[in-house]
Symmetry: C2
Amino acid sequence: MSKDVLMRPVGFVRSPYSETAQVPKGFGAQHEAEGTIEILPEYEPGLTDIEGFSHLYVIWVFDRSDRCELLGTPPTDTKPHGVFATRSPRRPNPIGLTVVRLIGRDGPRLQVVGLDMLDGTPILDIKPYLSSIPETDLRRGWLGEAEARRRSEA
Amino acid sequence: MSKDVLMRPVGFVRSPYSETAQVPKGFGAQHEAEGTIEILPEYEPGLTDIEGFSHLYVIWVFDRSDRCELLGTPPTDTKPHGVFATRSPRRPNPIGLTVVRLIGRDGPRLQVVGLDMLDGTPILDIKPYLSSIPETDLRRGWLGEAEARRRSEA
């Protein structure tokens, strides 16, 4: 019994980034890029009432990632970490996850802020962002440690 | 050029829920179920350093959902809403997203709290939860309105 699943894009990102090097990365990276998520016409009814949400989860495909690395060194550290402890594009399944702020909708097009995807990136799903873990409850592992080291060296 | 993507499970959920009806839903649903995410042995190096994170995103497959409904009425409302504005399992791509609290790791097994998946659910990806949108910045559309109506009727 195969548990493989075939996923099909429901839309595509229109973003100002055409190359990976243009996407802000590392410490203090701000994702304030504005752009559009264009849903394919046949899925437009699925956007009904989405206008009421301020923030959305966008689940997408790293379609220009060509391999998987189970251990990799992120731009914010000098040591390798497991792929499931990072946001590396080189994942077993090339799935990206981004929280965007919704600023408007024009039919099948969602105007959003906070994109970190390349132009043309395929979208698999959109979900409403309903609640947050309080920042004070978060521990952020190697990333928190790397940030603390950086502050102490500053 | 096909943009279809074949996804392959990297592990499976061990949860106390064997049927959908057992998963808490609707207003005030608490997801405090404890269980295990078991990563397949070949992906275990990808968990390196994950212990340092308090919370994780788990991306998984609604493998017992048999259809897609672009408009559906969720348990928390009497009106239909677009699938991208709900957490319905009947999605164009059957992808689920859950934030869990990590309480321990034993090799390829992550002990977590906050599961809302059925036992045996395939996992596609795990990512560290790094930051939150402040609750005061969130608007929650039809769900916020339904909650307000419910409070005024109480």
